[in-house]
């Protein structure tokens, strides 16, 4: 907004570097080649400059990834009709879809804790829906974290390797499969319950489990007092 006169000197058509341009370039690299290629070097190359130039606008690689995720969060919206809890679920699913599209980003998100404007909007919207559902403000405030954490962690866990993200012979994609194998082959002596309940542990398509999880979270958030040390009624 400050520079209305782009001084394109070296090479025609090359605008001055800016945080905005950098994030834009990073996004295009992300879409084309996956998060593993969103490196300072690769993004700088995309902008026809040296990697060192980016550090004037972005603190480090983690900050760049956080900025990307916040940008992608801009498009996350809930359905406009339906009950509050259905709209909330659709909002979380929309966010989940972004994270599943770029699993590497989901994996970083828990650490990055991106707090850009779009992420704040998302938090605000979740809060709004929880309050609309009549959930006590103090429980709603603590519940937001729980809901977004769950969605993010789930994407990090279950999302397939994705575009250019090392789909090796045994990448992150087989994590689910090897987990299933480990549970199915559980020793009935050492881990009797896992062995006995292998079926239940591995049952259900992802969507159904996810829907259950969100309902369980809402149920727990709504029904668990913040102050009282007394046990919740089971």
């Amino acid at each position: 907004m400050t520079d209305s006169t782009p001084r394109r000197r070296v090479r025609a058509g090359r605008p001055a570097l800016s945080r905005e341009h950098i994030v834009e370039a990073a996004l295009s690299v992300l879409r084309a080649e996956g998060l593993s290629k969103v490196t300072m070097r690769r993004v700088a190359q995309e902008l026809d400059t040296g990697q060192a130039s980016l550090y004037a606008h972005v603190a480090n690689t983690a900050a760049l990834h956080a900025a990307i995720l916040d940008e992608l969060t801009a498009g996350v919206e809930s359905e406009r009709s339906g009950t509050w809890d259905n709209r909330l679920e659709s909002l979380l699913f929309a966010y989940s879809r972004v994270l599943f599209t770029y699993p590497g980003l989901a994996r970083s998100a828990l650490v990055l804790r991106p707090m850009g404007q779009h992420t704040l909007r998302l938090i605000d919207r979740v809060l709004e829906l929880l309050l609309e559902g009549g959930i006590a403000p103090d429980r709603a405030a603590w519940g937001v974290d729980l809901l977004l954490q769950h969605v993010t962690a789930t994407a990090a866990e279950h999302a397939p390797p994705a575009p250019g993200e090392r789909a090796d012979r045994e990448g992150a994609g087989t994590a689910d499969a090897s987990l299933a194998a480990a549970i199915r082959e559980a020793d009935p002596e050492r881990t009797p319950r896992v062995a006995a309940m292998a079926c239940e542990l591995l049952s259900g398509p992802h969507e159904v489990r996810e829907s259950w999880a969100i309902r369980a979270l809402l149920h727990g958030i709504a029904g668990t007092p913040v102050r009282g040390a007394e046990a919740a009624p089971f």
Copy 2:
């Protein structure tokens, strides 16, 4: 396992390399220098060999990290007395303590999904306690995931930078602080609820929030039917 030997005393007479020796060496590097130093090169150096040698016993770096975490999980146990839910909470806290000690490991755990014998034991124990609490088996089976996911994600989010894990001027440690700042400075126009509830959003010491979260999860798991598509009663 004996540790706290500053110099490589491991493989004194250079016995054959084995997966066990490698994990042991990796653990000692972890304890001394943090996860970021648990690299194929550094561990190989610890064993006085070339990095390529490790690949005969460990698939890749991720597998090595998973093996380490499973090993650390061996010591995780619940208190022996108290109500089932208090014992469960103590079990989760014990696991949490391991993850908080090596935050980098927590950060990887969601992706790694380590499924060694000790992790299976932990799952078995959680299942046992849920069933003891009278929670329906199908809900308990799906609930285990939710509980362990939460603990892991929380450690990944909130754990401080730790030993040798890049405690830079703006490492992962300030994530919490910058998040707090972002919420406190939230624009009342764009994000009115975040601005209005900043206090509630940021309130409470970690332990209290964590205890609330686990109670909320248990409450939700116990009270949310797996099959029924009907909304849970709020």
